[in-house]
């Protein structure tokens, strides 16, 4: 397998056209991500306003769509201050350390199908790394450095507390997050996002003759439903989105790690945060919802520009929008968790469930390959998982026990 990528663009000789196409794709993906952030912030404010019987931003541009741009311009022209105690160099670099991984993580997301640009066939995706999903984990781990160093270099207490929380939270949920991804990888047996998407390609035609011809039967949300739920929860926690936004809990930490930041550096942190939300949603679409898979327009040519370019991107965007709406919905509905609740959910619940799910689905995959009797395997796997979780649950200290022990209340 080529080291760089499995993209057909990079298979043959690399000439100037190929380089230009890659540069063009880079710029296009960057622009797309920036526009997506602009859109998402507006969308989030509008939806939350709807959920609170308000109107939301409505002045800048049509329906207030340019509100984020206006905010960005305002922040760009504001004064940037640096605290006296700050470690100046790290303080200035930290926002960029936060935004760079956020952008790089998005580069592996397959946005569309396979198209032909200037005689070269290529994926509508910036990079199709063979390590694929591992790249996402690496980048979300690196993104922590921005937050961590911002808190450290501010020379102030609240930012430091916020960044310590960030690292503890990311560490706690990285386990469940990775195990949820493993739940997918067991099914696909491939790390490449393009391969995962191809595995979930749209099949079947109307009328449906056989249950396996259901168009979405290939989507991994079916065989990895528990992993999907765990992925969503862990991804929300990884991106420090409410209700897991203890990193910047205003009531406790002022602004958390970005308390001392002003102007465009402050804006960059928010850009990175919202980029991460979009990336995570896009990865969820890729891993579980078939990525760009969706019905093409049958009355147009199968390889015409509409069916090759527009429809896969349309389906991808539609699924992304649904997931983004869900993140906003969660944000509007749930109050912030207490810190011990956050840790409880991560360590005592999500990791165990994700781990057991990985084991059970591994067993099922092996059973399918070995043609074992599923009637025997599935119930015994389920019972075994429940037994293991029961033992774990019984051995965990309960909260009321902890309290009575700590406070010596009998």
């Amino acid at each position: 397998m080529p080291l760089l990528a499995s993209d057909p663009l990079l298979r043959g000789d690399i000439d100037l056209t190929v380089v230009l196409i890659v540069i063009g794709k880079t710029i296009a993906v960057f622009a797309l991500l920036m526009l997506a952030v602009l859109f998402y912030v507006w969308f989030m404010r509008k939806v939350i306003a709807d959920m609170q019987n308000r109107i939301g931003p409505n002045t800048a541009g049509p329906w207030g769509m340019l509100q984020t741009l206006a905010d960005g311009i305002k922040l760009f022209f504001k004064e940037q201050s640096t605290p006296t105690n700050a470690d100046r160099r790290v303080f200035m670099v930290a926002p960029y350390l936060a935004i760079l991984p956020a952008f790089l993580a998005f580069s592996i997301v397959p946005i569309g199908g396979t198209v032909t640009i200037a005689g070269h066939r290529t994926f509508v995706q910036l990079a199709d790394l063979p390590i694929g999903v591992l790249w996402l984990l690496a980048m979300s781990g690196l993104g922590l450095y921005g937050v961590m160093l911002a808190g450290w270099s501010s020379g102030s207490k609240y930012p430091l507390l916020g960044s310590v929380r960030a690292s503890a939270q990311l560490l706690s949920y990285e386990g469940a997050f990775s195990l949820a991804i493993v739940g997918v990888l067991i099914q696909t047996r491939n790390l490449s996002t393009r391969a995962i998407v191809n595995r979930q390609a749209w099949v079947g035609s109307w009328p449906i003759a056989h249950p396996t011809e259901w168009p979405i039967a290939n989507w991994l949300i079916g065989p990895a439903i528990v992993a999907f739920v765990i992925f969503l929860i862990a991804a929300i926690a990884e991106t420090n989105h409410p209700p897991f936004d203890l990193v910047e809990a205003e009531q406790e930490l002022v602004g958390g790690f970005h308390t001392e930041y002003t102007g465009i550096r402050f804006a960059i942190f928010f850009l990175a945060e919202f980029m991460n939300v979009i990336t995570m949603s896009a990865i969820a679409v890729t891993l579980f919802l078939g990525g760009p898979a969706g019905p093409s327009l049958g009355f147009l040519a199968a390889n015409g520009w509409v069916n090759a370019w527009v429809m896969p991107i349309f389906w991808f965007m539609l699924k992304l929008l649904v997931l983004l709406f869900c993140t906003v919905w969660v944000r509007a509905s749930l109050p912030r968790l207490r810190y011990d609740q956050l840790m409880d959910v991560g360590w005592k619940f999500l990791i165990e469930i994700a781990f057991l799910w990985v084991m059970v689905s591994a067993l099922l995959v092996v059973a399918r390959d070995q043609r074992w009797d599923l009637w025997l395997v599935v119930p015994s796997a389920g019972l075994g998982a429940m037994a293991v979780y029961g033992v774990l649950w019984l051995s965990m200290p309960k909260r009321d026990e902890l309290v009575s022990h700590d406070l010596e209340i009998k």
Binding site: V47, D50, M51, Q52, N53, R54, I55, N58, W329, V330, A332, S333, L334
Partner: protein, 221 residues
């Protein structure tokens, strides 16, 4: 599903009407006892009502009113009385809009409008002199460059309080005891004041009986 019922609560709200009033374009009706900025009223013949007695300045708890009276010039009197308000200044950086000046005024010269949108940016603008406070020749409030109100918003006055001051009682008792104004004539009783009995229909614009203290969408027509 108690833990997840919150999701339904938020989703349900999306289909309910919005509570927002889009403020600068649309304004809610103000409460009948709303206290805005003052005006100095004039009689229907154009004479000023202020007689320069300085009771308003005396009663003002914030000491924001400065009045100096002077004798009316015999050939061109400014007010019907012996004296008139020669200097009249209100410092809106101090005014607390308590309306005690309006209650103290024996001639209903000073009343409060419901105009409240004046955001000056220097201290000189905060001091409204007689030139700014006195109604113009049509009996309308003078709009200053930093004031934001639509053309007819100055129709609304705190006449509730004028009725209080003249009759000694907030409840309108059937006989209008307040004087006419330039441009508006005798103002009708306001909503929330008890209406005139039917037989005394010679009074100006009696209002139908309505419960005291409720708020209507429009203060008065």
């Amino acid at each position: 599903m108690g833990r997840f019922s919150g999701f339904w609560v938020t989703l349900e709200q999306m289909f309910r009407p919005r509570v927002t009033t889009e403020y600068p374009e649309h304004k809610r009706p103000k409460p009948e006892r709303f206290h805005g900025r003052h005006v100095l009223n004039r009689y229907e013949d154009g004479m000023e009502k202020c007689i320069g007695c300085e009771l308003c300045a005396g009663v003002c708890p914030a000491r924001c009113i400065y009045v100096r009276g002077a004798d009316n010039p015999p050939d061109a009197p400014v007010s019907p009385g012996e004296r008139y308000g020669f200097v009249y200044e209100i410092n809106y950086l101090r005014c607390i809009h308590c309306d005690l000046c309006v209650e103290a005024c024996p001639t209903e010269a000073i009343t409060e409008t419901k105009l409240f949108e004046f955001s000056f940016v220097n201290r000189d603008d905060a001091i409204y002199t007689k030139r700014e406070l006195l109604v113009d020749d049509d009996g309308r409030s003078r709009r200053l460059p930093w004031e934001l109100w639509a053309g007819d918003e100055d129709d609304q006055t705190s006449a509730w309080m004028r009725a209080t001051s003249s009759a000694g009682n907030a409840v309108y008792e059937g006989r209008i005891a307040w004087s006419a104004e330039l441009g508006f004539g005798v103002r009708p009783p306001e909503h929330g004041q008890a209406a005139a009995p039917e037989q005394e229909s010679d009074l100006t614009a009696p209002r139908p009986e309505e419960p005291v203290g409720t708020r209507d969408e429009e203060a008065h027509s």
